[in-house]
C-alpha cells in the first residue's frame, strides 16, 4: 500500500543531500557500538543475504544506513526495493515457490495470514533464544507495543520484528479551518466551533460545509472549480476497505469478525457506519471510486478537498515546500472517533514486518540483519536522516527530528493512531475477503447498494469464504 512514485523522487533528492553528512558524522558512533554485531556476525562474514523491501521515502532513507551493517559484520546485504505491487507479487511468489532467492521479504500485515497458512515464513524463536545471535540490548519493550505484538507474533511464535508502522491520520486544511469568515459561518450553521474534527459526526459536518460549487467563495476567494469537503480512498482493492472497516465500522462499535473469528458484519453498528460512509461520499470528488491511496494525497496536495483520512507516510511526501502549494497550511489530528464512543477509538494501520523466508539458506545472518534494523541506534539514525519518519519505537517520539519538527501535529496524530493500532486478523483467505468487501464499500459509497444490503451481502460473503468456521488462523 505504499506507492509514492510521484513524491519519492522529491524526498529522495532531499535525503540524498543530507545523508552523506549524517552518515559520515555517524561513523565514530558506529565504531563504539560495533561489539555485539561484529562478534555475532563473524561466523557469517563474506555471506551475502538478499532482502526485498518496498520503495517509499522511509526505505530510501533506510537504504543509506544498510552499508553500516556490512561494515560492522562483513555480511553483504543485497537490498532490493520495488514498488508496492511488485513487492507483494515477487515476494510471495518467491516464498511460495520455495526457491529462496530472497532471504528476507517485507510483508504487509495483511499478507501474514495467507503466508503463515502456507507455512513459508520461518519462525524466529530459536534465533531469539540463541545468545550468540540475540542482541541483549534490543529492548523489545521499547517497540510500540500494540502494532508489534499483533504483527510480529502468531500462535505463540515470533515471525519478525516490527519494521514499518504505516498508519492513517486525519488531515485537513488549517488555512480554511482557521479562516475567520468560515469559522463564523460554520458556527452559525452547526452551533459549535470550526476545528479539526474530533468525531466522525464533526468530520461529516465539515465535509458538508466545505463542499461548494465553482463560482462560490472559499475563505473569501471565488472558486474557479468545484471544491469538496472530503476525499477518501474509494478504489476497489488498495486500502479502501481497511479505512471503512477500522476508521468507521470499528469506531461505530461494529467489526468484521467476533472474538471467535466468526463473521459479524451485519450488525446495526456496521449498517450505521455504512450510512455515514455513503453520506461522506456525497461530499467527495466525483472520481472517488477511482481514487487509490496515491490519489488521495494528490487531491489534498492540489487543494481540491478540505479534509481526508490518509496514510501518514504519504503526508510526509506531500506537506513540504516545493511539492504542494499548500505545504505548511495543513493540520493533522487523530482519527475521529464516534461521538459517545471516544473511549473505544480505533485507527487504521498496516504495521508490517520483514520476515525470513522458510526457504532461506542464510537464516542466521538474515536474523542478525533484521534485528540490527530494529535496534534503537539504527532507528534513531533513520528518524534523524529522514527528518522524521514513522517510528516503531516509543523512544523515537522523543527524537529531536520529531520534537523539533515544523509539523508537530502530524507526529502527534501518528502517535495517537499508533497507540491503538493493531495488525489485521491473520486470515488465510484475506485477499479474497478484502477484494469482495472493497467492492461492497464501493457500491455502498456510490449509492448502488443500500447500507443494509451491503452489510447483509458482506456477511454472506464472509460466511461463504470461511465455511462456517473461524476466519482466522
Amino acid at each position: 500500500m505504499r506507492k509514492i512514485w510521484c513524491f519519492a523522487a522529491a524526498l529522495a533528492a532531499t535525503t540524498a543531500l543530507t545523508v552523506p553528512m549524517v552518515v559520515s558524522s555517524a561513523q565514530p558512533v558506529l565504531a563504539q557500538d560495533a561489539g555485539f554485531y561484529a562478534k555475532a556476525g563473524a561466523p557469517y562474514k563474506g555471506t551475502t543475504i538478499r532482502v526485498l523491501d518496498e520503495i517509499t521515502p522511509l526505505q530510501e532513507t533506510l537504504s543509506k544506513i544498510v552499508p553500516d551493517f556490512e561494515k560492522e559484520t562483513g555480511i553483504k546485504v543485497e537490498w532490493e526495493l520495488l514498488n508496492h505491487f511488485e513487492v507483494i507479487n515477487k515476494g510471495q511468489a518467491d516464498m511460495l515457490s520455495g526457491r529462496g532467492h530472497y532471504d528476507a521479504i517485507m510483508l504487509h500485515g495483511a499478507q501474514l495470514g495467507p503466508m503463515l497458512s502456507a507455512g513459508v515464513i520461518m519462525p524466529l524463536d530459536k534465533f531469539v533464544a540463541d545468545p550468540k545471535l540475540s542482541d541483549p540490548g534490543l529492548n523489545a519493550a521499547d517497540f510500540i507495543q500494540a502494532p508489534y505484538k499483533t504483527t510480529a507474533f502468531s500462535d505463540g511464535k515470533q515471525y519478525g520484528f516490527i519494521n514499518w508502522n504505516y498508519n492513517h491520520v486525519y488531515w485537513a486544511r488549517a488555512d480554511l479551518l482557521n479562516n475567520p469568515e468560515e469559522k463564523a459561518a460554520f458556527k452559525a450553521k452547526y452551533g459549535y466551533e470550526l476545528a479539526p474534527a474530533k468525531t466522525i459526526e464533526q468530520m461529516r459536518d465539515i465535509a458538508e460545509f466545505f463542499t461548494r460549487k465553482k463560482g462560490s467563495t472559499l475563505a473569501g476567494q471565488p472558486l474557479t472549480s468545484d471544491f469538496y469537503g472530503i476525499v477518501l480512498e474509494g478504489i476497489k482493492g488498495g486500502s479502501t476497505f481497511s479505512n471503512l472497516w477500522v476508521n468507521f465500522i470499528e469506531n461505530y462499535g461494529g467489526d468484521l469478525l467476533d472474538k471467535d473469528g466468526k463473521p459479524t458484519f451485519d450488525s446495526p453498528q456496521t449498517v450505521a457506519a455504512l450510512k455515514m460512509w455513503r453520506e461522506l461520499w456525497t461530499f467527495a470528488p466525483p472520481g472517488i471510486a477511482e481514487y487509490s491511496l496515491v490519489d488521495v494525497p494528490t487531491v489534498m496536495g492540489n487543494g481540491i478537498a478540505a479534509q481526508s483520512l490518509a496514510w501518514s507516510d504519504f503526508v510526509l511526501g506531500i506537506d513540504k515546500p516545493g511539492v504542494s502549494p499548500y505545504a505548511g497550511k495543513f493540520v493533522y489530528a487523530p482519527i475521529p472517533a464516534k461521538a459517545g464512543n471516544e473511549a473505544h477509538r480505533h485507527a487504521d494501520a498496516e504495521p508490517s514486518v520483514t520476515v525470513i523466508s522458510a526457504a532461506s539458506k542464510n537464516p542466521e545472518p538474515t536474523f542478525l540483519f533484521l534485528q540490527w534494523l530494529a535496534d534503537k541506534k539504527q532507528q534513531d539514525k533513520l528518524i534523524e536522516i529522514g527528518q522524521g519518519g514513522v517510528p516503531i519505537r516509543e523512544s523515537s517520539w522523543a527524537a529531536p527530528a520529531i520534537t523539533g519538527s515544523t509539523n508537530p501535529t502530524l507526529f502527534a496524530a501518528m502517535k495517537s493512531s499508533l497507540d491503538v493500532a493493531t495488525a489485521r486478523p491473520k486470515m488465510e483467505k484475506y485477499p479474497e475477503m478484502f477484494d469482495a468487501m472493497s467492492g461492497i464499500a464501493q457500491q455502498v459509497g456510490l449509492g448502488k447498494m443500500t447500507p443494509e444490503q451491503g452489510a447483509k451481502e458482506g456477511q454472506a460473503i464472509l460466511v461463504k469464504l470461511c465455511g462456517g468456521k473461524s476466519c482466522t488462523l
Binding site: 515457490s97 495467507p114 503466508m115 456525497t282 466525483p286 471510486a289 485477499p431 461492497i440 456510490l446
Partner: protein
C-alpha cells in the same frame, strides 16, 4: 530380364533415398513443433492437471476431481465475468466490424491523401494496450481526466459520479476504448481484401447495368466473405480475452461490473493464489471457445465457403 533387372536395380537406390529423405520434412518442422509443445501444449496440459487438484499458494495438494469446476460453475462471480465478456464482445466486435467495413469501402474509393490517412488511422491499433489504457485514463479519469474535467463535470453531466466509477457506464467506456483501438485494424484488413478483389466481375456487372449497391451485395460481399469470417473470428476471440486495458482502467471494478474471465483468473492466481480454481476457469473458457470455434468453422466452411 535385363531391363527388368536394371529397373529393379535402379528402383532400389531411389526407394532407399526416398525413405532416407522421409524424415526430412519432420526435421524441418521439429523446431517449431518442439517450441509449440514446450511453450503452449505442456503448460496447457499442466493447467488441466492443476484444475483437478487443490492447488493453493503454489502447492499442489490433493486430487479433488471436478470440485474446482463445480465451485466455479456455482459461483455467481464466474457467471458475472462470462456475462461481462459476452456483453463486451457482442457490442464491441459488431460495431468494429461494421465501422471497419464502411471505412474500408470509403478508403477503396481512391480518396485523396490515402497514403497519409492509412498510417494515421492505424495508430490506435499500433499502440500497446497498456498505452491505450493510460491514454484513456488520462481522458476519462474522475476529477482530473481531461474529458471528465472539461466536459462531464463542467456541465454536471454525470452528477456525483464519474465514468469509471459508475457500474452502469464503466463497461460501455471500455467497449468504446476497444472500438477506438480495433476499428482501424478491421478497416485496414478489409481494405487489403478489397484491393485484392479481381476487377473482371465488376466490369461484367457494369456492362449488365448493375448499380454500386447491387455490386456490393452480389460481388463484393460474397468474394469478401472468407476474409470477413476469418477476421471476425480472430477479433471475437481476441476481444473475449481482453485484459490489459481493463486492468489499467478499472481492474474489474466498480464492484465486479467490468470483471472479465481474464481479470478474474488473474485475481484468482496472483491475489488469491487459488491456482486450482484459476486453472479450472482457464480450461472452461478454453472448452467454450473450442466448441464455439468448431461450430463457427463448420458453418463458415459450408455456408460461407470460408477457410
Amino acid at each position: 530380364m535385363a531391363s527388368a533387372s536394371e529397373t529393379m536395380t535402379a528402383a532400389g537406390p531411389q526407394g532407399a533415398g526416398m525413405r532416407e529423405r522421409a524424415w526430412y520434412p519432420y526435421l524441418l518442422i521439429a523446431p517449431s513443433m518442439i517450441t509449440l509443445v514446450v511453450v503452449s501444449l505442456a503448460p496447457f496440459i499442466y493447467a488441466i492437471y492443476l484444475s483437478f487438484h487443490e492447488a493453493k499458494f503454489g502447492r499442489v495438494r490433493d486430487f479433488v476431481g471436478f470440485d474446482n469446476y463445480m465451485t466455479l460453475l456455482t459461483d455467481e462471480r464466474f457467471w458475472n465475468s462470462i456475462g461481462v465478456a459476452t456483453t463486451f464482445v457482442f457490442i464491441a466486435v459488431p460495431i468494429e466490424f461494421m465501422l471497419g467495413l464502411i471505412g474500408a469501402l470509403v478508403l477503396n474509393q481512391n480518396v485523396r491523401g490515402r497514403s497519409i490517412l492509412i498510417p494515421l488511422l492505424f495508430m490506435p491499433t499500433m499502440m500497446a494496450p497498456i498505452v491505450v489504457g493510460l491514454l484513456w485514463k488520462i481522458m476519462l479519469a474522475g476529477s482530473w481526466g481531461f474529458f471528465s474535467y472539461n466536459v462531464l463535470e463542467r456541465f454536471n453531466i454525470l452528477g456525483e459520479t464519474s465514468i469509471f466509477a459508475s457500474p452502469d457506464l464503466a463497461l460501455y467506456a471500455l467497449i468504446f476504448v476497444d472500438i477506438w483501438q480495433w476499428t482501424p485494424f478491421m478497416m485496414l484488413a478489409f481494405f487489403a481484401g478489397l484491393q485484392a478483389l479481381p476487377l473482371g466481375p465488376y466490369r461484367a456487372a457494369a456492362v449488365d447495368g448493375a448499380n454500386p449497391v447491387q455490386m456490393f451485395f452480389h460481388i463484393t460481399l460474397p468474394m469478401m466473405t472468407p476474409l470477413l469470417a476469418v477476421i471476425g473470428l480472430l477479433r471475437f476471440i481476441d476481444a473475449f480475452k481482453v485484459f490489459d486495458t481493463i486492468y489499467i482502467l478499472t481492474n474489474g471494478g466498480p464492484g465486479i461490473s467490468t470483471e472479465t474471465p481474464s481479470i478474474l483468473a488473474n485475481k484468482m492466481t496472483f491475489e488469491f493464489w487459488n491456482i486450482g480454481e484459476a486453472s479450472a476457469l482457464a480450461v472452461l473458457v478454453w472448452i467454450a471457445f473450442f466448441a464455439f470455434c468448431s461450430i463457427f468453422y463448420q458453418v463458415a466452411k459450408k455456408r460461407l465457403n470460408a477457410f
